[in-house]
Symmetry: C2
Subunit: 451 residues, 2 copies
């Protein structure tokens, strides 16, 4: 776990200084949830939970960090002494990493002394917003690709190193089968995949010589990029090299298209390969792909066995960020609600239930108050108790398998490229509904709230 | 410098294995440039150069990394032995970090043995694409804000930790005055800034009590968030607390608006504060702001002294990624060109000149062949020679000052929120033009290139 304690908004520290000074450090509960789905998205795959647990259980300021804060001239020595011993000692409930979730559903619920619970906000959002976004985006791309393989090519366009690493992991959880990112391969055990660049072809006098050179080094698994000069001529050159490989018991793996009309080109390239008796040579495609373009390629009859997806999967462009927030829902004074029209919150300590039909498909969810009994499986499970991790550490392959199995059980209408919003029913339990009503009445009666 | 050697696409290693096997490791030159401006953008601020230098000069595989690669079953022992001693020993020329640049202009030029030059591609693009994008986006926001302060609030929505850190740095270079990100403040020496959250207000029985508690801890520099229940009532409560502070020789710093019609609300809040003799209390605003919304607020007469800008500045949403690429332009066989219509490159080892008028404003740029003499200042300077950093390490404040001084000298038409493309002239030198023409003729004559 990287050192993330200082990876926080200053206001977490200024608020905590005021809580400290004003004896407001009693227990409070915060919910992390996402306000709404991006256009066309039907669900989220909650991701980053494992990182979030590691973060919460490792919060601790180092002496040089305390000294930096002292130098800001904002904090009393008493508060800085308090920060020296500051740890997260509370409880966290969360959905399992890889669980499909919907807007307003609690994904993480933190109950702790107010300073501790408040402090987690920034890093939890940084971790969960990004990883949930990429896992979901990747899953959309994988759904659009049908059975074809999707490989993460995003490293060069990722928003920094951490985005490339955690993005590769999230994309894999979302159903990508491999990544081009060697470091992610090593660190997370994700299969790695790679071809060659146009510059490789341009480094030899002719394309054919370049292909021969590459095939000499990789006689059994080369993917040849065939569009440096002309894709059809490139396919013919690849076929020549494939036959030369066969003569030496080698086998060309695939060819890659990276420009032009990919649907049409793939059909023509498939014909060239098939005529050469090279049915086993796969065709993979890249070039600023996303779920919409892949769906269109498939509609147009493209003969493509795999997609390398870069920029738009690793950045979720144009979405770029999802609206995860972290809100106070209860403290020792009772349940809390935020009333502003655009940004209303669901009050109280809650549990999330998911109801499954006899066919194994998810039917609907219920957001309920903690302690209420409901049909369905409770999705929020204890992951940190008294500051200690209690959730077993899961293997990446297990998380991926769980996520993809869950997606199987989602209604098909949610998994299309342009999913309409509100296709899935989220019930608010009667207990929670009563609480909302009573809090609205109570707060509306307060003179301080009138304009 | 973090360990980034393995932060590479697998294809850099497979290509290098083939270069190694085929004795193709002679000297080659690659250019890093950006293909095109996002819609409405008039220029880029080149950023990430310092990181790029640190990366190139620290490339080295560790034993466990070599073992991981061995385990992939792709590489020969001879190549893995070669990787053990692999270092960057070539030359890099680059523009100074903070320099405004335009599409197709070389930002970084790498000349080295082919394996070394090729290998840098992925990490250089990862570093420079993101940081250039955020520095530019921030500069657009700062331009739109006129003289008002812009503060980076992006940490919770940044695409991971590295994006938050490097994004805060890039935003500062682009003209932001502070960040909420405490770790970025400590690591880079950026001023840090923070207020409090709605949850703070909700943690007290009334808003007034919450404001009093916060002001007690920060009697001289509190910013009070006034929209938890009702912005106008919040302004009145803030005014009460400001007067109470005055009685004890304190001074309220500012109030913050975070929802609703910010222009209208800011005018009404200004009136409340001014009537209370609180002209010194500033008004800051946040809520999914970007350059377009800030421009609109100013047009509508908003009384706002500072903007907290989060999601859209740190992710450059909806742009999310810029089209930086890294292309072979020359090797021992001569200049290289890529001809595909969408993705043409400028061949040869080049220099970039910028011509300044008598008023100090930039007039136009010239992309020329290295060695050509031209009017104007050459912008590509040696930063790494024979694998060693030769560029002096610059302070962040110096880079920021340089970038903002350069932006001053750009034509004003480029600095509007909706800048038309091609407002600035980029000349191709006659020498470079002749080279392009002769290469086009030569390659078009090759039979391998006909469809």
């Amino acid at each position: 776990m990287r050192e993330k304690t200082m990876l926080t908004d200053l206001y977490q520290l200024t608020m905590n200084a005021a809580y400290f000074d004003n004896d407001k450090d009693e227990v409070a509960t915060f919910d992390l949830f996402i306000r709404k789905l991006p256009e066309d998205w039907g669900y989220f795959i909650a991701n980053g939970i494992e990182d979030a647990i590691d973060y919460a259980t490792s919060v601790a300021f180092k002496p040089n960090e305390i000294e930096y804060l002292r130098g800001q001239g904002l904090f009393t020595n008493a508060f800085l002494d308090f920060l020296e011993g500051f740890r997260f000692t509370g409880n966290i409930y969360a959905v399992k990493e890889g669980t499909p979730v919907f807007p307003n559903e609690p994904i993480v619920r933190v109950t702790a002394r107010r300073t501790e619970a408040q402090f987690l906000e920034t890093a939890l959002l940084n971790i969960i917003n990004f990883q949930t976004m990429v896992a979901t985006k990747a899953n959309r791309v994988v759904n659009a690709a049908g059975g074809a393989a999707v490989v993460d090519f995003g490293l060069r366009r990722a928003q920094g190193e951490d985005a490339a690493m955690k993005g590769a992991r999230a994309a894999y959880i979302g159903g990508a089968v491999a990544t081009s990112n060697v470091k992610a391969g090593m660190e997370f055990g994700i299969p790695i995949s790679g071809t060659h660049a146009h510059s490789f072809v341009m480094s030899f006098p002719t394309e054919l010589e370049a292909f021969r050179a590459y095939a000499r080094t990789f006689p059994n698994n080369a993917t040849l990029l065939i569009d440096t000069y002309d894709t059809i001529e490139g396919a013919r050159n690849a076929a020549i090299v494939a036959k030369e490989l066969e003569a030496k018991d080698g086998r060309l793996g695939a060819v890659r298209l990276d420009s032009g009309e990919l649907a049409d080109l793939s059909v023509r390239v498939r014909q060239i390969l098939d005529k050469g008796g090279l049915r086993y040579v796969k065709i993979v495609a890249s070039n600023d792909l996303n779920e919409y373009k892949i769906e269109e390629l498939r509609k147009r009859g493209a003969k493509i066995d795999g997609y390398g997806v870069g920029t738009e999967m690793i950045t979720a462009k144009p979405v770029a960020a999802i609206s995860g927030v972290y809100k106070l829902v209860e403290d020792t004074d009772g349940a809390k609600i935020k009333l502003s029209a655009e940004k209303q919150t669901l009050p109280g300590k809650k549990q999330l239930f998911r109801v499954t039909g006899t066919d194994g498909k998810y039917l609907h969810d219920i957001i309920a108050l903690d302690g209420e009994e409901h049909e369905g499986a409770p999705l929020l499970e204890p992951v940190v108790l008294d500051g200690k991790r209690v959730a077993e550490r899961r293997q990446l392959s297990e998380i991926r398998g769980y996520a993809l199995a869950c997606v199987e059980r989602l209604p098909d209408a949610l998994k299309v490229t342009k999913a309409a919003a509100r296709l899935y029913t989220i019930e608010i339990s009667s207990g929670l509904q009563r609480l909302v009503t009573s809090l609205k009445e109570r707060y509306s009666a307060k003179p301080v709230l009138t304009a």
